[in-house]
């Protein structure tokens, strides 16, 4: 070692300090990147929550108090909410015209033992029919809460006049009250959570107040179900072939390169592929006509759950293949050698050692891919998601809508209320995604523990 080749003494100190400072700057900039990411995420969450809750000005056609008063009950203190079923039916009877009343009764009776709007002879005749028998003939009577909901929907008819964001509702309440009092003198100012049990369990509706996401949730689940059924076995199979069986030939390298590139193709391209192949060419199969399982009136011409599911399946197939390949590649070669050296066939070795050790990685990759499919909108628009359906999907050949489609439609409406329910739907979608990821973690941990 020659003196002077490396810095010594004060020079060394200065040099080390310089090196350290550079590291410190980098560390701070890494932290800053992290903070930017977290801030972006928080802003997003704030925005969503801000829209999903807040004050609304509710104006009723008929004041509930007036309805109660009109009944002329002894107890003057009772409000509409506290009325008994009999009283509520009486309210309906006096405030709803007979046609509407009969329609309601035909949907579901008010009492098992007597009729309210319909006459007994007419009812017997209706129920005696072979076709177009009213649903009310075979179902039980409405409950008290159901009747209350009817009163609200048919008579009180609360309308949202204006909505406010959560932030304003909390911090500028006085201003809002002033404005509401000036513009809507008869309106009630109430705090409303747009995300509610009703919201999750109600079907789509043109009225934002009663619209829900049940149809969209079920649509999304059906589609993702088809997607998983298609892309998981196919993807894992392809990955096993590429990793364990395929020789290193030019053709196989080409296939591999293509798979890697396909993972980056914009999703709308897959939508067009799905439209061309599943909706048009394979219409006989994707509409269910080939299986004879569809009634003529509800046919969706191939724009069905199965088309959407297969399209999303194609979209995430490369992602599943690549992830599964990496998981399979990570299984130590020594396990394969050990298996083969015992006189096991190649498949026995793959089945007993390669796949069990790769499955946590395969599952993680697959579920992340499925989470992506759950959030995809563009391909579904192209494949032909229904813009407005209230009927739940009942099978692979149903028309469909999905959560992201629903959100997309609601956000493009001009009315404020739709922005609120879009935010609520986003929360539902996020919760669904979190649940999916939680499943992934649970599954992975369970399989990882076995080894």
């Amino acid at each position: 070692m020659t003196a002077g080749e490396f810095p010594e003494g004060p020079q060394l100190d200065a040099q080390i300090n310089r090196r350290r400072r550079r590291g410190a700057y980098l560390r701070i900039s890494f932290l800053a990147s992290l903070i930017v990411a977290i801030l972006a995420l928080l802003t997003l969450l704030f925005n969503i929550v801000n829209s999903a809750f807040g004050l609304v000005a509710l104006e009723s056609e008929v004041a509930p108090a007036a309805l109660v008063e009109a009944l002329g009950l002894d107890t003057t203190s009772s409000a509409l909410v506290d009325l008994s079923k009999d009283d509520l039916v009486a309210v309906l009877r006096t405030n709803v015209n007979n046609n509407v009343g009969r329609r309601l009764e035909r949907d579901q009776r008010f009492y098992d033992d007597r009729l309210v709007f319909e006459t007994q002879t007419k009812w017997d005749e209706l129920c005696g029919r072979a076709v177009d028998r009213p649903a009310g003939c075979s179902t039980g009577a409405r409950g008290r809460d159901d009747v209350y909901a009817l009163v609200i929907e048919q008579i009180v008819q609360p309308k949202v006049r204006e909505t406010w964001l959560l932030f304003d509702s909390i911090f500028h309440r006085a201003g809002i009250e002033e404005r509401a009092a000036a513009l809507y003198p008869s309106a009630d100012l109430v705090f409303r959570s747009w995300l509610s049990v009703d919201f999750v369990t109600s079907p789509q509706s043109p009225q934002a107040e009663v619209a829900g996401v049940r149809t969209a949730i079920l649509g999304s689940l059906w589609i993702v179900g088809v997607t998983i059924l298609f892309s998981f076995p196919v993807g894992v199979g392809a990955a096993v072939y590429l990793e364990e069986y395929a020789r290193d030939t030019r053709l196989n390298r080409l296939v591999q390169t293509n798979i890697n590139n396909l993972a980056g193709v914009p999703s709308i391209i897959y939508g067009m592929l799905g439209l061309a192949i599943f909706v048009r060419v394979l219409e006989a199969f994707t509409s269910g006509a080939a299986f004879g399982g569809v009634e003529g009136s509800v046919t969706a011409n191939g724009r069905t759950v199965v088309s959407a599911g297969l399209t999303l399946g194609l979209l995430i197939l490369p992602i599943i293949i690549i992830n599964a390949q990496e998981a399979i590649r990570a299984v130590p070669q020594s396990l394969r050698s050990a298996g083969m050296a015992l006189g096991a066939s190649q498949w026995q070795t793959i089945r007993a050692h390669v796949l069990p050790n790769a499955i946590p990685g395969i599952l993680t990759g697959a579920i992340l891919a499925v989470a992506r499919a759950l959030g995809e909108t563009a391909p579904l628009v192209v494949v032909g998601a229904s813009t407005f359906i209230t009927a739940d999907p009942t099978g692979p050949f149903s028309k469909f809508t999905a959560l992201p489609i629903q959100i997309f439609q609601w956000t493009s409406r001009p009315q404020d209320e739709f922005r609120n329910i879009a935010a609520a739907a986003i929360i539902v979608l996020l919760v669904l995604l979190l649940m999916l990821n939680a499943t992934a973690i649970v599954l992975r941990n369970r399989y990882a523990r076995r080894v």
Partner: protein
């Protein structure tokens, strides 16, 4: 260098002359060449593996010992681009013949690897799996116990057969791998530097075990450790690299002869540590 190859062959036959008459061969390797792609890793090997004896393959790193060993039960087939030319006779059948299934070859000629590689399964399953996939129909518990006893591991693991094979120490794991190999009842066990990843105590136990296994099995062992070859084997083949980097058997004979009066200067240089 054809002359030298001819000489190797004579050496073998001369050694064979001094062998006792009851020696029978388990494997006969004739003019075998092993390639990785276009690279010839082992050339013109002629070697006889004697039944119920321990044959050691020694030589410097990269001289093709492991390639030769792996060619004996067609494990080389698993390496992309690898191929073997020439004959490897096992009970009179060339294991590289078209109608021979490598899966069957590997069941009858087992292999123990350099690094202990138990399956990430229970100790019991580690031993039972090989037998199960080969369609063993007997009493599995007995087979597992027998294999573990032969591998001198039974007393240490009999109370924790359901624990992971990874819970064992390195030496125990290697004995578990030996038990696993024994459980499919092979005739020949190939060992690729089985003690190179183990400490001296564990190494000694494996060496003792190998001596016990000799009663039932023919063993071929690759080793870097000269003392191990001298201590543990009956026959020794010394491999060396040629100028073209292909490995070649320089000398083969009784271990005692190889280590006391080697016929080749190369061999003498290697075993006395004056190599390279």
């Amino acid at each position: 260098m054809p002359d030298e190859n001819a000489f190797v062959r004579t050496t073998i036959s001369e050694s064979a002359k001094v062998m006792p008459a009851q020696l029978t061969s388990a494997m006969e390797i004739r003019s075998m060449n092993a390639y990785y792609g276009s690279f010839r890793a082992v050339k013109e090997v002629d070697l006889t593996i004697y039944d119920h004896y321990i044959t050691a393959l020694i030589g410097s790193s990269g001289c093709g010992k492991s390639t030769l060993l792996r060619a004996l039960n067609r494990m080389n087939d698993l390496v992309p681009g690898a191929r073997v030319e020439g004959d490897v006779h096992f009970h009179g059948t060339n294991i590289y013949a078209d109608d021979v299934d490598p899966v069957e070859v590997r069941r009858r000629i087992g292999m123990v690897f350099q690094k202990p590689n138990p399956f990430p399964k229970s100790i019991y399953d580690n031993v039972a799996w090989g037998a199960r996939v080969n369609g063993y129909r007997g009493n599995m518990a007995e087979l597992v116990e027998g294999a573990l006893r032969q591998a001198a591991l039974w007393d240490e693991v009999k109370d924790k057969l359901d624990q992971s094979g990874y819970s064992l120490s390195g030496g125990q794991q290697q004995r578990l791998c030996i038990a696993r190999t024994i459980a499919v009842k092979p005739e020949i066990i190939l060992m690729d530097e089985p003690t190179s990843a183990l400490d001296p105590v564990a190494t000694l136990r494996i060496e003792e075990l190998i001596q016990e296994l000799k009663e039932r099995y023919t063993i071929v062992i690759v080793t870097h450790n000269m003392q191990q070859a001298a201590r543990a084997s009956d026959f020794t083949a010394f491999l060396n690299m040629d100028e073209d980097r292909a490995g070649r058997v320089v000398e083969f004979g009784r271990t005692a002869d190889i280590f006391t009066k080697p016929e080749h200067e190369e061999t003498e240089n290697y075993i006395t540590g004056r190599f390279g």
